[in-house]
Amino acid sequence: MKPTPFDYASPATLAEAVSLLSARDANAMPIAGGQSLMPVLAFRLAAPKLLVDLRRIPGLNRIETNSEGVHLGAMVRWRDIEDDARLDNAHPLLKAAIEHVAHYQIRNRGTIGGSLAHADPAAELPGIAVTCDGIINAAGPNGARTIRAAEFFLGPLSTALKTGEIITGLQLSPWSVARRWGFEEISRRRGDFAITAIGLFYDTDAAGRAANTHIGVIGACRRPHRIAEAEAALNGCAVNDASILAAAKVAATAVDPPEDLHAPARYRRALVETLVERALRQAAARSTRGNT
């Protein structure tokens, strides 16, 4: 189907974009790569009067890695993350998760800001942002603000962004070299949205026990979230068959998966158990030196 008619603007500055988006009765939406928004418009799930294209705004397409961690500008594309060798060590979990995002052509245009704003509970990046306690940067009519990823996603296609606000980037805290991590996903076709995916990591204490465990669920949820019960089950344990299976079982009972045409809830719940187990085994098998 064709979108409903709208006007189009491509401002050269962030301030101008914010002012267009926040004008009274603007009914405006920002567009970056358009890889989520264009289908939304085609299905007429949204009918804005104005699209504000962010493509001419400078400085939003940088990937920075430093002692603060990794900062992804909102206009960074999947392709840019894929091509950036620094991220292999600076954030291997992000890199592994992004390999599952969409198909070749979409990866050339889809952006991280677009994915966060679209807030599909089955999308990888929002899941990683939540799992890693990411901070979302936004600019709006009242200036810049930061929003914790855990509080950003409110439900399917729903975020804490206010009228006129634009995502400017995502901050992920520093990664430690010895950190163990795993990412596992099941989808109908590689590149499609996840039916269920699990991203996780943990550090190990001097005695080799898991600490600081973060386990995040994608797809089997109304919004991506950490599974605190499963994290607690693993923390303080030596990571072995028994603790892995126990954490996986706890995870499966803790989630509240939706039911839709792609999969019944009980299937997603079973996937959570299987994928937590697989991702923990992946993490445990990883060498402590280097992350590949």
Partner: protein, 154 residues
Amino acid sequence: MTIQFEVNGKAVKVEVEPRTHLADCLRHGLGLTGTHVGCEHGVCGACTVIVNGEAVRSCLMLAVQAEGAKIITVEGLSRDEALSPLQAAFRKHHALQCGFCTPGMITTAHALLTDEPDADIKRIREVLSGNLCRCTGYIPIVEAVMEARAAYRK
């Protein structure tokens, strides 16, 4: 709105509504009907064109976003009478039947092999997984792209 960009080496100027996606602009505005519109929501890959050297789905890009871009469509990949290496390989391996998906397969494969002439079968399958074909079962298409690699290694 009036927009200007380059298609297959030729500068063009075209009048579009802001809501017109690039595929409709190419087909209706410029008569380049080689680009096919299948699902129109970014699933099937039939509308793939090459924008500034990168394969994109032209149904997921507004024509107005292509202002100033260099676009190559499937028409830009043929050599008059002679077959291009990809065309010849598709013919040899029977990599098309109804032909609806073929323009998207050719543009996608061209973008891939231009960037990665040594792509292995796993990479080729992964990249082509974004393009649906309901006739061939994909195997002949993968074989054709494998064979065409030689022509891109220079």
